[in-house]
């Protein structure tokens, strides 16, 4: 696409995109040549008008000093941020949605070279080739339509979900309470996964203990493999601790029914059980920095820090 948002070419292209049938009030040609921010602003002010097409010349009332009182419903309101120029603003405008999409984990000042054409296929396709980061509410389907491909047997349903508000859990259609609640659990560095029955535990501590029991031996066997057969003195290997608070070598995370990856422990146990789809034991060192937001009880591993 044309470099619409590039500074040098922005002004004439802005005019080009304006439909001829509307009475755009354009400044004389010489103003187009001046490349200072204020003339760009002036041209921008004249572009926009009221929805009924009743274009009025009100710009003389609009001061350059971002006077709030100068907003007239039928006129254009000048941008009040102190940034000069339209292009910088548009670059800033790309920031929130790119961050929300989770593709740019950089600082809040995006690299202009990268984001000057934020929608160009070349820049976004490179980002797209990586695994898609789950975005809240995308794709736009109702919660109870998710996870149909996995079949009904793996849907987590528990009686505790029925006893409390089921606002977090959303798998409404299913609900024959099974006797057990087996979810897959994989551990970094261990190619073979396990299954853990969440109904057998009623707290995160007990779950953490169970995870330790499940993988301790496997992990030891793994390290025996890679370490060339040096036997570990302890029975079955080193204990896996600190899963819940980030203090250990590994941290326990889970994937919920919306496909988000979350840290264990933020919500009450019964809510966790009703929304968990699978568990993962990740190396603590590999976890991205977490944003301590108030996203109603969830800390998502995918929101970039502010």
């Amino acid at each position: 696409m044309e470099g619409y948002s590039r500074k040098d070419e922005g002004c004439p292209q802005l005019l080009d995109l304006i439909p001829k049938e509307k009475e755009w009030l354009t400044k004389s040609a010489e103003e187009k040549q001046t490349r200072n921010g204020s003339s760009e602003e002036k041209q921008l002010e004249l572009r926009l008008g009221p929805p009924n097409g009743d274009w009025t010349i009100k710009n003389k009332n609009i001061s350059r000093e971002k006077d709030h009182e100068s907003l007239l419903p039928f006129g254009y309101f000048s941008p009040w941020s102190s940034s000069s120029g339209y292009q910088v603003k548009s670059q800033k405008q790309t920031t929130p949605f790119l961050q929300a999409h989770g593709q740019l984990k950089e600082s809040s000042q995006p690299n202009p070279a990268k984001t000057a054409v934020p929608n160009s296929s070349s820049s976004s396709s490179a980002q797209k080739r990586t695994a898609p980061t789950p975005v809240v509410g995308w794709p736009p389907i109702r919660s109870f339509r998710k996870n149909l491909a996995n079949g009904s047997s793996s849907k987590p349903v528990s009686e505790s979900q029925n006893a409390v508000g089921s606002k977090i859990s959303s798998e409404k259609p299913i609900e024959n309470s099974p006797k057990n609640l087996l979810v897959k659990i994989n551990m970094d560095g261990v190619p073979i996964g396990r299954k853990v029955d969440l109904k057998e535990h009623d707290s995160y501590e007990k779950l953490s203990f169970a995870v330790d029991e499940l993988f301790r031996g496997l992990l030891a066997a793994q390290s025996n493999f890679s370490a060339g057969g040096i036997k570990n003195d302890e029975d079955g290997g080193k204990a896996i601790t600190g899963l819940l608070d980030g203090s250990g070598e590994y941290t326990l995370v889970y994937e919920d029914n919306e496909g988000d990856r979350l840290l264990i422990g933020d919500v009450p146990w019964h809510m966790f059980v009703s929304s968990v789809k699978r568990l993962r034991v990740l190396k603590s060192s590999e976890l991205p920095t977490l944003c301590r937001g108030r996203k109603h009880g969830k800390r998502s591993l995918d929101t970039s820090p502010k």
Partner: protein
């Protein structure tokens, strides 16, 4: 002129007006027509429960029999509206109970309904007939028990896709033995098992039952028991459509379906075992509406079943149907009006099925009456969209979701501007549009220029600048609802088109670039709009005014700012600064 007809003559004439638009127009003719009309309006539709207060409604329309209310914005369906945002129906029920003792119908969508509300409904309206709760939440099966027990003349109980706290299935047994009035019962969203005996008896004693949508817990083996007692059914939603493969189960089922000569609509089909699909073959030719969106059956059984339904008008299906299935559909179902294809595995970047843009093109070309589309896929091209637009100028609703955000035309790697441009240019009656894929400001120029009948527009991950939003707000004359997420739209277009917002029901913008300062200004300058900022991370004034708000919901209202906002919602009005300091004090604890 007004004296030329007696009032009751006018009233009689007005009684033929069913559409709100017509009644509203009639009310504007003169004062006496306004008076006559308001006294005889029986049905009220309120598209945004916060646009008006119950008192205002009751003052104008003193004798109402049916009320329909909508609460949360549409994006609440996709978890974009935080819990506790609002949409509480209880205050409405309290007022309605006082004012309209003869109220018969209540229909709610995306509202928070408590057991208290349900109990109040069940006890306040002696002639209560119809309760429809679509995508609602906040109530339990106890509330349903009140409705069942107390509404003597209940005709319709439709729980839609609501989130119900399922305490037990016992509530159904609260329908008294002398309740024979049911015409429509939809409990498909419920989890726990209802007492089958109670259900069976209820179905047996309601001879007018036309719609029965069961929940997943009703086993397939028992379905014939119900069908035999209700052969007059027009719409059936099965429970789980699975059982061990046994010939007697099959034959019972087939025989039961054979007896249902009026059946036109089918839904349900959880856990479908394809071997049992042929049991329904006897009804297929009469079926006009088929919802297989929970049916994880695959081809060839899936397409074989669908192709039997030659009179199909509406099909909802999973993408297991694949392009091949859609081509077969296009060949066999020439009466198709509406197609919705849902993704079976929406979070997988790789396609698990062979469903592409070709399927949609095939249906568009083969089905001359196709006017409503919802399609999830993983690739799209401008060429396909142009083909669809040219084939189907009669399209009214077009919602396309390409699963990867900002995906370009997969053939040319260009934006999909031209394709969607063709849609709005050719489909002159288009009322609803949802777009996806790589889109620049240009597509919004096309929309502003051509989409003159567009009423609802959903935009995500699209556009380059405020010009895009400006095109839409200034060009789309019929726009009522605009919902935007993750687009680089900011203050300029919003403020320049502030008055447009009063002509619309609502605007939603989340993860865009609208600054807090702009929101404040909009709220201050437009007293008939409620400008609500949703910031879960903290008060919007904790940062500079140029800081973008997380979510913005703007709607026109004659009720003023609402009083039931949670801590993360701030309304922007004249008292915005003082109200913010009050709120921050409140939240400081």
């Amino acid at each position: 002129m007004a004296q030329s007809f007696p009032e009751d003559v006018l009233e009689h004439v007005f009684s033929f007006l069913n559409y709100d638009k017509d009644r509203n127009a009639v009310s504007l003719v003169c004062k006496s027509w306004y008076e006559i009309e308001r006294l005889c309006r029986r049905r009220i539709f309120i598209g945004n429960c916060y646009a008006v207060s119950p008192e205002i409604v009751i003052r104008r329309f003193p004798d109402v029999r049916a009320v329909e209310l909508k609460g949360k914005p549409h994006f609440a369906d996709f978890n974009l509206v935080p819990e506790g945002w609002g949409g509480y129906v209880y205050p409405w029920i309290v007022s309605l109970a006082r004012a309209y003792p003869w109220l018969e119908e209540i229909k709610l969508k995306r509202m928070v309904v408590t057991d208290e509300s349900l109990e109040l409904i069940s006890k306040s309206f002696k002639n209560f007939k119809v309760l429809v709760l679509l995508s609602c939440e906040g109530f339990t099966t106890d509330g349903l028990a009140s409705i069942a027990a107390n509404c003597r003349n209940l005709r319709e109980l439709d729980l839609g896709e609501s989130e119900v706290e399922d305490l037990s299935g016992h509530w159904l047994s609260h329908f008294p033995d002398n309740c024979t009035s049911l015409v429509s019962l939809n409990i498909s969203c419920l989890g726990s098992e209802v007492s089958f005996c109670a259900l069976e008896r209820l179905v047996a004693r309601c001879p007018n039952l036309k719609t029965l949508r069961l929940n997943r817990a009703v086993p397939l083996e028992k379905l014939p028991n119900l069908l035999c007692r209700a052969p007059q059914l027009v719409e059936l939603g099965t429970g789980a459509y699975s059982a061990e493969i046994q010939s007697d189960i099959f034959s019972n089922l087939a025989e039961a379906f054979l007896g249902c000569k009026q059946l036109k609509g089918l839904s349900g089909f959880w856990d479908v075992v394809p071997a049992y699909l042929p049991a329904m073959y006897s009804v297929c030719s009469r079926i006009t509406s088929l919802n297989l969106s929970y049916a994880t059956a695959q081809n060839p059984e899936l397409v074989h079943f669908v192709s039997q339904c030659s009179n199909l008008q509406r099909l909802w299906v999973l993408d297991y149907i694949e392009d091949a299935g859609l081509e077969a559909l296009a060949a066999s179902c020439k009466d198709l009006h509406e197609l919705r294809v849902f993704p079976s595995d929406p979070f997988d970047a790789e396609a698990n099925v062979s469903l592409t843009e070709q399927g949609l093109v095939a249906v568009s070309e083969g089905c001359p009456k196709l006017q409503s589309v919802l399609y999830f896929c993983r690739q799209m091209s401008n060429a396909a969209l142009v083909a669809i637009a040219r084939s189907r100028p009669n399209m009214i609703r077009f919602r396309l979701c390409i699963i990867e955000p900002r995906a370009p035309d997969y053939l040319t790697l260009e934006p999909l501007d031209t394709g969607f441009g063709a849609i709005v240019e050719n489909c002159k009656e288009l009322r609803r549009l949802s777009m996806s894929g790589l889109l620049t400001d240009r597509v919004f120029e096309y929309i502003g220029t051509h989409a003159k009948k567009l009423e609802m527009l959903s935009i995500a991950f699209a556009g380059d600048s405020d010009l895009g939003l400006h095109h839409v707000l200034s060009g789309c004359e019929s726009l009522r609802k605009l919902e935007i997420r993750d687009c680089p739209f900011g203050d300029k277009a919003l403020l320049a088109n502030a008055t447009k917002l009063e002509t619309m029901r609502s605007l939603w913008m989340s993860s865009c670039s609208v600054s807090f300062g702009a929101c404040k200004l909009l709220g201050q300058k437009m007293p008939r709009l409620n400008v609500e900022v949703i910031n879960e991370r903290g008060p919007p004034d904790s940062g500079p005014e140029s800081c973008p708000v997380e979510k913005l919901y703007v709607y026109r209202t004659i009720a003023g700012p609402r009083v039931d906002m949670p801590g993360f919602v701030w309304t922007m009005d004249e008292q915005v600064s003082s109200s913010l300091s009050r709120v921050t004090e409140r939240r400081g604890d």
